[in-house]
């Protein structure tokens, strides 16, 4: 039998000792997650803004599909990306399978619909307020999108945060396409799964505590920024 508090004590000791293996795993996790969220924002913010600000044939269907994609099963995404990147797949020649790039691709696919769907809602609300004024200014479509994204920037930080939350906690897809290879594709979530199955609960819990801490710090920073923006009437 193990004592939870004994394991927690050892886990905290591991964190405080901050060995090279631990930092390698944490840094790779952050690199993969932040890159995926940045790419998802690059695609999802303008796409969501377009859908939110403009009426076009098929808009309802696009919205339904986008909302459905928010609940994409990670293992299914992992499987599809695996098939695309495997040696016999259409992108096999790139040799990306079992690399951090493959993990970034999988996470980007998972996070983009979340960013786009939430952006659509934020921008749609703001556009309802601005639409007549923008029409009066004679703004072109790309100027409207740019202005809406800029004025909604503090709300969109929360959108990016939702994407970050999904990406940083993801395990199924990155395990399939990354392979959880030591010193190559091992990230916090996949390591927690692996070490738990091996009975190495101290390392698993240490990574769990770190994961939670990162999530709390990022959330707190974004919320503080947004709160100050609200106080200053910019959000």
């Amino acid at each position: 039998m193990f004592s939870f508090f004994d394991i927690l004590t050892e886990a905290l000791g591991l964190i405080l000792s901050w060995d090279r293996a631990l930092s390698e795993i944490v840094l790779l996790s952050l690199r993969v997650t932040l890159t995926a969220v940045a790419l998802a924002c690059l695609i999802g913010l303008p796409a969501g803004a377009l859908i939110g600000a403009f009426r076009f044939p098929g808009r309802t269907i696009v919205t339904v599909i986008l909302n459905a994609l928010m609940g994409l099963p990670p293992v299914v995404v992992g499987l599809v990306v695996y098939l695309m990147l495997s040696a016999s797949g259409p992108l096999g020649v790139l040799g990306l399978l079992y690399t951090p790039t493959a993990m970034i691709i999988a996470q980007t696919i998972l996070v983009t619909p979340i960013v786009a769907a939430l952006t659509k809602q934020v921008v749609e609300d703001l556009h309802g307020e601005y639409a007549e004024q923008f029409a009066s200014f004679g703004l072109r479509a790309h100027d409207r999108i740019a202005a809406l994204l800029w004025d909604a920037r503090y709300s969109l930080l929360t959108v990016a945060l939702a994407g970050f939350g999904r990406a940083v906690a993801e395990v199924g897809a990155v395990l399939i396409v990354g392979g959880n290879i030591n010193h190559v594709t091992r990230v916090m979530t996949t390591t927690i799964a692996l070490e738990t199955s091996k009975g190495n609960l101290e390392l698993a819990l240490a990574l769990g505590v770190l994961l939670l801490t990162i999530a709390v710090i990022v959330n707190a920073a974004v919320m503080a920024l947004r709160a100050s923006a609200v106080r200053a009437a910019y959000a």
């Binding site: 601005y130 007549e132 009066s136 004025d151 009437a233």
Partner: protein, 253 residues
């Protein structure tokens, strides 16, 4: 295009803005019904009428914010394009403030008209002085008072030097001092050649500012002409009721 008697009576050339048999339907109802009128250059036209008469709707149709169900709107005798939109500006009853600073709101309007760099900075400063908002330049626009926001909205509309300025009851929720400042801004713009079309419920304001008047009743033009003439000898029953201060509704003039 239908003939506009007012334009012909005065022997004017092509009007700045003209409508022909303009109609607008919504929810199965005809809200603007067969409106033919013209707006002449450098005149101040007041649009008046009871609530629900279609004043704000007509303003939006004239500015091109709504597509008419029937009829046409012509700008200098032609179908208005983007150039017409850029030559017009509008101030709404409830000013729409971008989530930016006061000066950023002004800069945004200039950027929309392609003004950049040093010119933009100079014109922004001039507009701040004109609107008496220099001390608030860096404040978020949404923390301004109602009167300040409306002054900013007027300054933002005028900063692009429009030929035609639409105003939809810009002073309806303002106190006399704030109303005076808005009227001063509008009159100063008019003195520089800007044509004014303004919706107002305030007969005193119409007397102070108007050259021409259009009285709407149930989506139709009940009466129109030079303001002094219409006030002296109203012919439509709804206009008479308005001027006599009698209570009337859109259904019962």
């Amino acid at each position: 295009m239908a003939i506009d008697p007012l334009t012909l009576d005065r022997g004017a050339a092509t009007p700045l803005l003209a409508t022909s048999a303009l109609c607008y339907d919504a929810g199965g109802k005809r809200l603007i019904d067969n409106v033919t009128l013209s707006i002449r250059t450098n005149r101040r036209t007041m649009i008046m009428g009871a609530n629900g008469a279609g004043k704000s709707l007509l303003l939006r149709l004239l500015h091109g914010l709504l597509e008419p169900t029937e009829g046409t709107v012509l700008w200098h005798g032609r179908t208005p394009g983007r150039a017409a939109r850029l030559a017009q500006a509008m101030v709404f009853q409830n000013p729409v403030m971008l989530r930016r600073s006061v000066q950023a709101n002004l800069r945004f309007a200039l950027a929309a008209h392609g003004v950049r760099g040093k010119d933009r900075a100079e014109q922004t400063d001039q507009a701040l002085v004109m609107a008496r908002l220099t001390h608030m330049a860096r404040s978020p626009a949404r923390v301004l008072s109602g009167g300040e926001q409306q002054r900013l909205a007027v300054a933002r509309a005028l900063i692009s030097k429009p030929d035609l300025l639409f105003l939809d009851e810009p002073t309806s929720s303002l106190d006399p001092a704030s109303t005076q400042m808005i009227e001063d801004l509008v009159n100063a713009a008019h003195a520089q050649g800007v044509t004014i079309v303004m919706v107002t419920h305030d007969l005193g304001q119409a007397r102070r500012m108007g050259d021409d008047v259009i009285f709407l009743h149930a989506g139709q033009v009940a009466e129109r002409g030079a303001l002094a003439d219409v006030l002296a000898q109203p012919t439509a029953s709804s206009t008479k009721a308005w001027l006599e201060g009698r209570l009337y509704t859109a259904k019962n003039p």
